[in-house]
């Protein structure tokens, strides 16, 4: 259904391939440098796709993958009330993802709907940040990750709601309300567990050190951000970062936790360079849809 978007760049075009084969068959002289360079030298980085499409994938994939992870808790939470609460957040996130991917499909204009984008892209075509694809760990890890993400998400939605792209602004306006509640829920848990018992404090403190290496990626700015800014989707990443720092520091302080320092950062998700966990998540998520190509459900 969906031709991998990287295909045109990943393989030389037919003409080049032909040259290589001919060359090998004909035993090209070792000194023919031009042919050698032409056959193997690639670009360092592939040209970006339509930046708005790319940007919407990033937003959508973050929420799809995190919603999926949260839904793994359904039926396995620490207490019934929390099973219900966590499921609510998962539902909001998958709902936001569906809207964003649907819009991405429209922007792309290749007749892919939200399900085609969710179920028929490979891991390397996913654009989510690394934090959201990490396995759930214990409940404290899940809630802390949720808070770090929610805080960013709320601030981002507030900016996007005022943007020039009407469809995206409409999604953002609705998402703000949902995300406000998500922040309230996850931040309360971080505070409860951080300032709870000795054991809970130790667990969350450990999770914080684990997760912190994925936080810079949330604020990375690249050509896609610059390009969508020209379309009126302007996000002041530096300003976002400082507001996020304040919000996170406030909650961590109340949780008697310290903001980690000197942690080496990891990123790559925005370019499809993921951790190994995403592949397994997608293998599970996509198995039914991919086993029955073209089927309706």
């Amino acid at each position: 259904m969906s031709e991998p978007t990287s295909a045109p760049n990943a393989r030389p075009d037919a003409g080049d391939a032909g040259d290589v084969e001919d060359g090998e068959a004909g035993g090209i002289a070792a000194g023919d440098a031009t042919t050698r360079e032409r056959s193997v030298a690639g670009v360092r980085r592939k040209p970006e796709q339509d930046p708005l499409f790319e940007y919407l994938l990033r937003l959508g994939d973050d929420r799809l993958v995190l919603g999926h992870r949260l839904s793994e808790w359904c039926g396995h939470g620490p207490i019934l009330e929390e099973d219900i609460a966590t499921a609510n957040v998962a539902l909001d996130l998958v709902g936001q993802a569906a809207q964003l991917l649907k819009l991405a499909g429209v922007v792309e204009g290749k007749d892919r709907d939200e399900d085609a984008l969710a179920y028929f892209r490979e891991g390397v075509e996913y654009r989510n940040c690394l934090m959201v694809e990490q396995p759930n760990g214990d409940f404290g890890y899940t809630m802390l990750r949720q808070f770090l993400f929610d805080a960013h998400s709320l601030l981002l939605w507030e900016v996007l709601a005022t943007g020039q792209h009407p469809a995206l602004a409409a999604i953002a306006a609705k998402a703000i309300k949902e995300t406000r509640y998500h922040v309230r829920h996850s931040s309360e848990w971080v505070i409860r567990l951080g300032d709870g018992t000795g054991e809970s404090h130790a667990r969350v403190a450990r999770s914080l050190l684990e997760l912190w290496r994925f936080t810079d990626e949330l604020f990375e700015r690249d050509a896609v951000d610059d390009a969508v800014a020209k379309l009126g989707v302007v996000v002041d990443t530096a300003g976002l970062r400082s507001r996020w720092d304040t919000m996170v520091e406030d909650v961590l302080t109340r949780a008697t936790l310290a903001v980690p320092t000197g942690i080496a950062m990891q990123s790559g998700g925005r370019r499809g360079r993921h951790t190994e966990h995403l592949g397994h998540l997608l293998a599970t998520m996509q198995i039914v849809a991919r086993s029955h190509p073209g089927a309706r459900w």
Partner: protein, 326 residues
């Protein structure tokens, strides 16, 4: 209205015949019994047992369907399934709260479930093996639950009946989404149709068993009916379910795995074959295909959540102290 669990009503003088007579007169008059009202010890006991079993079934019932949330084939189906499994958690919660009005703590009941003393619906001890199971469970299992719960909404115990009213509203969505999945698969590819028929073949008989033993083998039935803890017999409810379901199967062109299924023109009932009660007893007594897995999953969730529950309490105590001091 729930009265605080901390103050269970004082133990009644062991079933004074005059009080029992007055109680039964109230029931006969269709009155609803409230938590602080006097009730015979056996009424309280039977009610607690029945509500606990019901609540446990809702909670264990989250597992077979939760098993497919991560594999739902479209985003819309994923959301419906999360919402449905979430509702089941709610159902368990509402009913446990009902037992708490009788002075029985949820923790106490959960402990009975976890160590294998308590029973829950046998249907949830069958594995979910394909996506079609999500359709068939919604259609059959939630369908059966609706048949059961619609009459329980008129049960004599107020808190239980009120929980049922809330639950019935939600179950309708469950059954509809299940039947919609089935109808879609029935119109789908040959592989999808085969998947659907296979799920129906596996879940039909266990769904009939959900209504419990036949009336002649159901020792508590008469008393429960007289006290209006139950309002219809197991066999009556089972028959109603079959009568409702057969036309729905016809409508989407699937078969039910029972060669003896036929319409009786006189009684207007769909008569069905003999239920394998030996299988039912095996599953109920812990030897179904997934009994161990279900209890292990519940125990693991509870054990792994202990530090979370404890920390939340500890934090609330700290906060309380700070506000007091301030």
């Amino acid at each position: 209205m729930a009265t605080p669990a901390k103050t269970p009503p004082p133990a009644p003088p062991a079933d004074d015949p005059a009080l029992v007579a007055a109680f039964e007169a109230r029931i006969a008059a269709g009155e609803s019994i409230e938590p602080k009202d006097w009730m015979p010890a056996r009424y309280r006991k039977q009610l607690t047992r029945m509500m606990a079993q019901h609540a446990h079934s809702e909670i264990v019932g989250m597992l077979p369907e939760g098993n497919w949330i991560t594999r739902a084939p479209t985003l819309r189906r994923k959301m419906s399934l999360i919402a449905k499994v979430q509702d089941e958690a709610g159902h368990g919660l509402y009913i446990y709260c009902g037992t708490e009005t009788l002075g029985v703590e949820r923790d106490e009941l959960v402990e009975q479930l976890h160590d294998g003393r308590a029973k829950y619906s046998s249907i949830f001890n069958y594995p979910t093996l394909s996506w079609a199971d999500m359709g068939v469970i919604g259609w059959f299992v939630d369908g059966a639950a609706i048949v059961n719960q619609t009459v329980l909404a008129k049960a004599s115990y107020g808190p239980y009946a009120r929980a049922m009213v809330r639950i019935c509203k939600e179950e309708n969505f469950h059954k509809r989404q299940g039947y919609e999945i089935c109808a879609t698969l029935a119109k789908g590819t040959p592989a999808q149709r085969a998947m659907l028929q296979d799920a129906i073949d596996r879940f039909w008989w266990p769904s009939l068993m959900m209504f419990g033993p036949s009336d002649k083998d159901s020792p508590n039935s008469a008393e429960l009916l007289r006290w209006r803890v139950k309002r219809k017999t197991n066999d009556e409810l089972r028959q109603r379910f079959v009568n409702l379901t057969v036309p729905q199967a016809q409508a989407i062109g699937v078969t039910l795995p029972d060669p003896d299924l036929r319409f009786n023109e006189e009684t207007k009932n769909w008569e069905f074959g003999e239920i394998d009660w030996a299988e039912f007893r095996e599953v109920i007594s812990g030897n179904g295909p997934c009994n161990r897995e279900r209890l292990a999953a519940r125990n693991a969730a509870h054990a792994e959540g202990a530090w979370v529950r404890e920390a939340a309490l500890a934090h609330a105590a700290k906060r309380h102290r700070t506000t007091e001091a301030a």
